[in-house]
Symmetry: none
């Protein structure tokens, strides 16, 4: 049996879940407090700690917005995600056509803050300074919603996936590589451009 949480704790948990869903980012303690009508962050922290003790979420010490939800619904296999590795993408193809699923890997859900939906193999070293190397598998949370500054998986002109940091100022969308010797990609509004998802994590084999 899962340990019982109080209704107040359930509210806290629901708010956190909704916020992560909406923003792709966990809320701060103060934001939680605001939403629940708690004047004080330390009370919020106690709730969060209780939820952590009860196995519903994890939190990294001293790290902002580091709350991660642990368990979706089933205590058993909720922790085990099965992530398909998506191969190369040709123009306009639907994302999950079977031919392109090479293999799949299992990873604990609790590793990630954002629930990943699939893996993409990185080609090239354009994000080396973000610690994303050639051959790495990037876990992607499939969503078309991204904000300035986030690392996204995008497709430009119907080409293959590219993993880049999104710069979004006014009408100018720019994909920033993060390594010396690589140039930013400016996206022309008339061009095909799709944000496939957000960077959710990374796996690297030996």
């Amino acid at each position: 049996m899962t340990i019982q949480i109080t209704s107040r704790q359930a509210n806290v948990l629901a708010f956190i879940r909704a916020r992560i869903e909406r923003d792709g980012q966990a809320p701060t303690l103060e934001e939680i407090g605001e939403a629940l009508g708690i004047a004080n962050v330390s009370a919020v922290l106690k709730h969060v700690r209780s939820l952590e003790a009860k196995g519903r979420l994890t939190i990294e010490p001293n790290r902002a917005r580091s709350i991660r939800l642990v368990r979706e619904s089933d205590p058993m296999d909720a922790d085990a995600l099965e992530l398909p590795l998506i191969g190369r993408i040709a123009a306009g193809e639907p994302l999950f056509s079977e031919a392109r699923v090479d293999r799949s890997l299992r990873v604990s859900r609790s590793l990630f803050r954002l629930r990943p939906d699939y893996l993409v193999k990185v080609v090239g070293d354009s994000m080396r300074d973000e610690g994303i190397l050639d051959g790495d598998l990037v876990a992607v949370h499939a969503t078309p919603v991204a904000r300035h500054g986030q690392v996204v998986a995008a497709r430009v002109r119907g080409n293959e996936f590219t993993i880049k940091r999104l710069h979004w100022k006014g009408d100018v969308i720019r994909l920033m590589p993060n390594s010396p010797g690589f140039k930013p990609i400016d996206v022309d509004p008339t061009e095909d451009f799709a944000i496939e998802g957000l960077f959710a994590g990374l796996l690297r084999g030996s």
Copy 2:
């Protein structure tokens, strides 16, 4: 983490465990009460129910001697590795003393060339140029055998883990960071030095 049990509950649990060990049979509520000096079975039942709620044992309704202890880790399918995340290491401690196992993650075996045995959390950016960032979880294949040029998890002077590239020329052992602004560590042959294992892979959450 597992939910905390009280010391009284721990005693109950210990007695049950000992009795199952000795007799191959779980004790009755009355026997537990006798051993713990509780005059009444209903109090014993409450303890047992608490332990059940906390996931330490199971009990079948209306069935005599039906207490069963919950085993810690159940064997998953062959492809799923369960990797414990090892916390900080103090001098000379054995590697898996329970206090330091924070949590564990499941990952497919097939991600790795070298089979990893545990995870270590990276502190600092000294291996940034290898794509190993602060906060990443490095999968370590436990072995004392390493060759020149490999990335190793090592301990110097009984300190915490450090992930570095091993340079080994003649008698000189040198641990090379891989980031500007970090200095190599030269290992004096008289010093404590242990190679705990080889870099087997890397996991990064959102």
